[in-house]
């Protein structure tokens, strides 16, 4: 008898989504889908507003990564204000924005790994739900949990110093920033009261990586094999091929490492990317135009970034990058759970960049804004924690926005997440008479690896009400389980 399995809501991710899995009469997975059940509407209601409001308006998309939206929009309106793309800003403005962004990256990645993902690693995806949450992590490993909270706090303090407040600040304005760091702010972040200082954050980031690598050594088969499938990968890279989370050119590689998008200017993204609409989801499906809908989908995020970048421009993270690349002999890494590893390498890289920026005298400079010749269109792209984030605005001659197109990281990962669900469902549920809670959580573990921000605003972690209903082929409810 065929069955329909519904996992709703998906837990320990940002926002709300649900999974449906259809099993045929033989118990094989006939169809699986990750549905995004929210509709936000930002692209519509930013229309008619003055363009300089965009960075402050659209950052309300998200409470976890508002800085990413703030800066992607700011980069787009820089172009409109005639300040150019990325390298047109003053050194102080560019470095303050970078500091804000790497603070964001540090806190968001920390939040995801420790609060959302680590319970699955510490206790196993089949552990009891009452243990498999952040409180369980705190009870089992007090030191790790304390570090997680303080690392996130440090990242938030970096954001507050550059954007005015921890969530939904106003630091970036068209053509620059509205403040630099005072000497006191810089010194507090650089060598503040222990443990909240830059060097301690680097040390703790190394500790988090050691924790993961130790886990990997003991659970190699699971980490390598779970939800593993080949894909293309896309991200920004610096012009010289270095990992750069704030600015660069668009690069995509295929599963074998061949460049399929060769360092193109993101102002021209529409020449290379397309978005497909499917009736069952509010989230679109982007693809590389050159490969078409079927083969053009790709991954973004930490795993994709370490697959597209040639090197990491900070020494400690570069060393970790080399170890990471060695696992696949330098070829792209298509192992889903290695995303956690890549994410932690980026945490270390972010901590190093924050320390270096704080040591740079430009960070306390006073030359904050540049302006130039007005342009009617601007595109801003940034590497958000979850991956490539694109903001595209068109304005009329009165400076009011007439069109906005936002392609957020999770949207880029739509097809890969659907594939991941399918992959795990096939491996775990095929031919099973009973669908157990651990099987459902395994599906969520695969989704969680992408750190999706389904609404870019809401947060749900720990044990959430999750209901699975089994239907027969006629749609009749056969059984129901709740956790």
């Amino acid at each position: 008898m065929s069955k329909k399995i519904v996992i709703e809501p998906v837990t320990r991710v940002e926002g709300h989504g649900k999974v449906t899995i259809h099993l045929d009469d033989q118990g094989n997975v006939a169809q699986s889908r990750l549905h995004i059940v929210e509709f936000r509407g930002f692209e519509r209601f930013v229309q008619g507003r003055p363009y300089w409001e965009a960075p402050v308006l659209v950052e309300r998309l998200c409470g976890i990564c508002p800085v990413s939206h703030h800066l992607a929009a700011a980069k787009a309106v820089d172009v409109i204000a005639g300040a150019g793309t990325g390298d047109g800003l003053t050194p102080t403005a560019e470095k303050i924005r970078r500091l804000m962004h790497y603070g964001q990256m540090f806190q968001s990645h920390t939040l995801h790994f420790f609060h959302l993902a680590s319970p699955d690693l510490l206790f196993g995806y089949d552990a009891p739900p009452e243990q498999r949450n952040v409180i369980g992590v705190a009870l089992a490993n007090r030191e790790l949990a304390t570090q997680a909270v303080l690392m996130r706090k440090y990242g938030q303090e970096v954001i507050a110093a550059t954007a005015g407040k921890k969530i939904h600040g106003t630091g970036a304005i068209p053509g620059g920033v509205n403040k630099s760091l005072t000497i006191e702010e810089r010194d507090t972040l650089l060598k503040g009261r222990a443990p909240l200082n830059a060097d301690k954050m680097i040390a703790w980031s190394q500790g988090a990586l050691a924790f993961f690598k130790d886990y990997y050594k003991k659970n190699k088969a699971f980490i390598d094999g779970f939800s593993q499938f080949p894909s293309n990968h896309l991200s920004l890279v610096r012009k010289d091929g270095a990992l750069d989370l704030y600015h660069g050119v668009l690069r995509a590689v295929d599963a074998a490492g061949k460049k399929i998008l060769n360092d193109v200017d993101y102002q021209d993204y529409l020449s290379h990317l397309r978005e497909e609409v499917r009736s069952w989801s509010y989230m679109k499906f982007p693809f590389l135009k050159i490969l078409g809908k079927e083969k053009g989908w790709y991954r973004v995020g930490p795993l994709a970034r370490l697959n597209t970048a040639d090197f990491i421009p900070t020494p400690l993270a570069q060393k970790e990058f080399e170890a990471f690349k060695a696992v696949t002999g330098g070829k792209p890494n298509n192992m889903c759970m290695h995303t956690h590893w890549a994410r932690l390498i980026e945490v270390l890289h972010s901590a190093e960049v924050i320390r270096d920026l704080l040591l740079d005298s430009d960070i306390t400079g006073t030359d904050l804004v540049t302006k130039g010749k007005w342009q009617p269109v601007g595109v801003g792209v940034i590497e958000a924690p979850r991956g490539t984030l694109m903001h595209h605005y068109r304005v009329n001659e009165d400076d009011l926005i007439t069109m906005a197109n936002l392609i957020v990281s999770t949207t880029h990962n739509n097809e890969p997440m659907n594939r991941a669900v399918n992959c795990v469902a096939k491996a775990m549920m095929t031919g099973q008479k009973e669908i157990t809670e651990p099987m459902m959580n395994a599906v969520e573990v695969a989704i969680r690896a992408y750190d999706p921000c389904l609404s870019c605003a809401t947060h749900a972690y720990g044990q959430m009400p999750l209901e699975v209903s089994l239907y027969d082929a006629t749609g009749k409810l056969i059984s129901q389980r709740r956790k």
Binding site: G48, W52, E53, V56, I173, N178, V369
Partner: protein, 231 residues
């Protein structure tokens, strides 16, 4: 030589120049009376009613009342406080005030008063009026969503010839304050800034001038409205 009159506010004996505006006289005596449509240096209008006080037991707007010998004034009774809170709530409900993305957030007098009077959710239904953003002017933007029709701009902003830059248009609940294309032509950046600063909300903006004051340094970030006069 100015003559002084003696009067009481909330039972406290006060002294002020005869004929002084009650709002200013109270301020001189360390008592805060909230205002919105009133602005120092321009003739009072008494249109927003938020400065309503009891003068000899009768409700009057303090911005249009002059002090006289022996008057007794009550500025803060439970009924007056509730009335003021309602005025603030009505102003929020009547327009489209989206503080999170407003250029004036942190420096907005309506927002600051809402904080002072602890307005959380208005008791009145939001009207969500459909209003436009007028952005044709090379230096100014008029966001009608945020306008509370206090007329400060009409009364206070003049060009070099003494002509008003802003004028009422339409009538009744459709009334709008427009930028006059003739009198506002060739205005200086300084006058545009003065117009933006005089507006108590974010209805008058300078083109490309938003969010340039960092959080923490905005007008009411450190000093809640009225706290310089009375906590």
């Amino acid at each position: 030589m100015a003559s002084f009159v003696k009067f009481t506010i909330n039972g406290k004996t006060c002294l002020a120049e005869e004929g002084a505006q009650l709002v200013e006289a109270a301020k001189e005596n360390g008592i805060y009376i909230p205002t919105l449509c009133n602005y120092p240096g321009i003739p009072p209008k008494g249109s927003c009613r938020i400065c309503t006080v009891l003068v000899n037991g009768i409700g009057q707007t303090a911005c249009t009342t002059k002090v006289v010998e022996g008057m007794t004034v009550q500025t803060s009774t439970p009924e007056l406080e509730e009335f003021r809170k309602s005025v603030i709530e009505i102003l929020f409900a009547e327009g489209n005030h989206l503080c999170p993305s407003c250029e004036k957030s942190g420096s907005c007098e309506l927002q600051a008063l809402a904080y002072r009077y602890r307005v959380t959710v208005p008791h009145f239904p939001y009207l969500f009026p459909k209003r436009d953003v007028e952005a044709w002017h090379p230096k100014l933007v008029k966001d009608h969503n945020r306008c509370i029709q206090c007329k400060r701009c009409i009364r206070g902003i003049r060009n070099g010839k003494g002509q008003a830059l802003f004028a009422f248009g339409k009538r009744g609940d459709k009334v709008v304050i427009n930028i006059d294309p003739e009198t506002s032509r060739d205005i200086s950046d300084a006058l545009a800034q003065e117009a933006m600063d005089m507006c108590p909300v974010g209805a008058i903006l300078r083109k490309e001038k938003g969010f340039d004051v960092p959080i923490g340094k905005r007008k009411f970030d450190r000093q809640p409205i009225g706290s310089d006069i009375q906590a």
